[in-house]
């Protein structure tokens, strides 16, 4: 089988292409420059289908016009192209890493949307070295909402209060995605009237657009602020900008995947803050840590429950009190942590690699 593989800089293209090769699928690279000549490329190469990580509306339209099947695996959220008219193209088979979003599209009658979580490559199991007690690796989030209000000063104070209230509630509700369906109709209409929306945005997804671009990042910002809490006083933070007030604990982002894996393996407890654009999805970072034999400590994401057992494969909490309790508990139990790391690693090895995912993808496509 031959596939046009659209590349835009996704860091794991190489692993995915290698996996496709292992399934006897030849990948022909096409970048954004190549889109203008896609007809020629299709004429010459005669591919069976086109593939991209994340859904690309232009690519979908090109494939629709050319009569070529278009497969996308959406792994990086937000993916705003999903909310455009192109999502309805018949040529699409869209695999989404988030079950919440998948159900949303299916509810709206978008066919050929399937749930497929992210995956990782897996190496040999390495035991935790426990050199660092707590680590967090992640880009720093800024609060978007104040800037948003400044730019859109005609938004009523009531609406601002309401949206801030939603953010506060979502922050404490681990494992339940209340945004975007909680935005009331009147506030949504006000947002639609006062904010310049992308031309091709489908109206039925405008609440997702506002959630993805304004509300969800703010929830993540607030969650990061908790890293200053007393319970994290030994936390090392690896980020592009300082997050915690105690500057001694702020470190730079690791430069390579190897450096990142080393941090995961050296750390007793790896903190994961699922970004709220990933409504129910399993964060990639969780899978990476488990694949390294590392210990995951995360706010609950609903999709965790589909594949993993809490306190056996990884550890997640559902409220702030449970966070405090469990963090204290697991810091003092190295043997239990070791068992969890081993179990988590085995789970990844047996069911969450690229090979498993792409096999599943092909099985769906061949039905």
């Amino acid at each position: 089988m031959k596939m046009l593989y659209f590349t835009w800089g996704y860091p794991y293209d190489k692993e995915i292409q290698e996996t496709f090769y292992g399934l006897d699928i030849e990948c022909i690279d096409i970048g954004t420059d190549g889109l203008d000549n896609i007809d020629q490329l299709i004429e010459i190469e005669k591919p069976d289908l086109c593939f991209s990580i994340d859904f690309n509306a232009d690519l979908s339209d090109y494939c629709q016009m050319s009569g070529l099947k278009y497969i996308s695996w959406v792994l990086v959220l937000p993916n705003l192209d999903l909310y455009t008219e192109s999502i309805k193209n018949d040529c699409n088979s869209v695999f989404l890493c988030d079950s919440f979003l998948t159900k949303e599209f299916q509810k709206n009658g978008v066919n050929n949307v399937f749930y497929l979580p992210d995956a990782v490559s897996i190496g040999k199991y390495t035991e935790q070295r426990n050199e660092i007690l707590l680590s967090y690796i992640g880009l720093r989030y800024e609060s978007q909402i104040d800037n948003f209000y400044k730019e859109n000063t005609r938004l009523s104070l009531y609406s601002k209060g309401y949206l801030d209230g939603l953010i506060l509630c979502q922050r404490v509700l681990y494992g339940a995605s209340i945004l975007p369906h909680s935005i009331p109709i009147n506030i949504l209409q006000e947002l639609e009237n006062k904010v310049i929306l992308p031309d091709n945005l489908l109206k039925e997804y405008s609440r997702f657009f506002f959630t993805d671009t304004i509300l969800a990042p703010d929830v993540t910002y607030h969650e990061q602020q908790i890293l200053d809490h007393q319970i994290y006083h030994e936390l090392q933070v690896y980020s592009d900008q300082p997050i915690v007030k105690n500057d001694k604990r702020n470190m730079c982002l690791p430069k390579t995947q190897e450096e990142t894996d080393l941090i995961y393996q050296s750390t007793s407890i790896n903190i994961v803050i699922p970004e709220k654009n990933y409504y129910d999805a399993i964060p990639r970072q969780t899978l990476e840590i488990m694949a390294c034999g590392g210990f995951v400590f995360s706010g609950k994401q609903k999709d965790y429950t589909l594949f993993f057992k809490n306190d056996e494969d990884l550890v997640y909490f559902e409220d702030d009190l449970e966070r405090i309790e469990k963090l204290a508990e697991y810091q003092s139990k190295p043997e239990v942590r070791k068992r969890i790391c081993e179990s988590g690693y085995e789970k990844i090895k047996n069911a969450h690699t690229y090979h498993h995912r792409l096999l599943y993808m092909m099985s769906i496509l061949c039905k």
Partner: protein
């Protein structure tokens, strides 16, 4: 074995005392007004009286309904067991240092409260459901025509709508605060088993509410709404918000149900807004009339106040003890004991409540089976005997 019962006017005392007697306990009753056990000015006197009473005889334990810190202090001082079974929720609040005494044996009916208090390091606390005395609920008798008009309905709800004084203050909230509060209220409405308001409404939150205009507006209502410092405090706001959530929920339920079925409300509330089709029948006496409502209504509604996060409320047990058909929101502590379609009817949304009410009104034979199963369940598993035996065993007395 002898118990010292600190008795105030909680309605469960007669059943507790009767049951302890049946279990073979000797009892000395110390009646005392509850306010005097709490108030700073009278607390010390109460503690002296209690201490004297304890010294008077050889007691196995002291017992009270609800956790009362003054009693805990005296018992700790005297090194005598203090057993308390909470009827309210939350109930283990004031004077946190007294929660940790080794002499305490605290029993609460909301497992969420139990877990919460345990997390703070209190060991001697357990979850035990409330109880009901089926014999006391004299519900089955022939009604006169006048009584039929008063007590018969397709759907009944006995309880407050919780229209609070806080509603009078809503117009004085800033636009921003109004939005903030409405968001939190509306999200709480979506969630049972989780007190989001408690988690979100904190000192930072209250700063947005206490604007100068609002502080001025609340002064005339200060005493009624328990504002003593000029500013609304988080705990007071939480209570109001939970009450407004209960209000909204109950109004929504009654409004929708009354669109399709004959629905009666037994309450002191008189505000008919959104409830034009509901028959307002005033308050009912707990012992003489409420059982008649439950047994003569085809469906009895319960909508749990959110301060009770997981526990089974007394109302649910009362309905079932009267052989009434209970239709209720789900509470986590029902798990395994009260099952939808078996001994109770459970709804998860207003829409589902309307649908199920319609079904059980049409299928009386099925409804009757659930009624009888419900009665049997509470008679055997929620009797005072069953619960007090559980309590005394856990307390280490039996």
């Amino acid at each position: 074995m002898k118990l010292l019962i600190c008795k105030w006017d909680a309605m469960t005392y007669p059943f507790i005392i009767k049951t302890f007697s049946e279990m073979g306990y000797d009892q000395v009753i110390l009646p005392y007004p509850i306010e005097q056990m709490y108030r700073q000015e009278t607390r010390t006197t109460f503690m002296e009286v209690l201490a004297k009473e304890i010294d008077h005889e050889d007691f196995t334990a002291v017992f009270s309904v609800n956790f009362i810190s003054a009693i805990a202090e005296v018992c700790n001082d005297k090194q005598i067991l203090y057993i308390c079974w909470s009827y309210d929720c939350p109930s283990v609040g004031e004077e946190p240092r007294t929660h940790f005494f080794d002499t305490n044996r605290i029993f609460v009916f909301d497992s969420a409260e139990c877990d919460f208090v345990k997390r703070s390091g209190v060991n001697n606390i357990w979850h035990v459901d409330l109880a009901v005395d089926c014999g006391a609920m004299k519900s089955v008798r022939k009604l006169s025509p006048k009584e039929m008009l008063r007590y018969q309905s397709e759907i009944s709800f006995v309880g407050q709508l919780y229209s609070t004084e806080f509603n009078n203050l809503l117009p004085y909230l800033s636009e921003y605060s109004a939005g903030l509060i409405n968001a939190v209220k509306n999200i709480q409405l979506l969630f049972y088993g989780r007190n989001i308001i408690k988690e979100v409404v904190n000192k930072e939150f209250i700063q947005f509410i206490n604007t100068p205009e609002f502080e001025q507006a609340i002064q005339p209502y200060a005493e009624k709404i328990h504002v003593y410092s000029g500013k609304l405090q988080p705990d007071v706001l939480r209570t109001f918000l939970l009450q407004t959530v209960a209000n909204k929920e109950r109004v929504m339920l009654l409004s929708m149900l009354s669109k399709y079925y004959q629905t009666s409300l037994y309450s002191k509330d008189t505000n008919k807004e959104y409830l034009e089709k509901v028959s307002f029948r005033g308050m009912v006496d707990y012992w003489k009339e409420m059982p008649l409502v439950f047994s003569n209504s085809k469906v009895n509604l319960n909508s749990t106040l959110r301060t009770i996060e997981k526990g089974i409320p007394q109302r649910c047990l009362d309905v079932m003890a009267c052989r009434g058909l209970l239709m209720t929101n789900e509470q986590a502590d029902m798990n395994g004991k009260l099952k939808d379609g078996e001994n109770v009817v459970i709804y998860h949304s207003v829409g589902e409540a309307v649908e199920k009410a319609g079904y059980y009104l049409k299928h009386e034979d099925v409804a009757n089976k659930i009624r009888m199963n419900g009665y049997s369940t509470v008679k055997h598993d929620f009797s005072f005997r069953a619960k007090l035996e559980q309590i005394m065993k856990l307390a280490g007395v039996e």
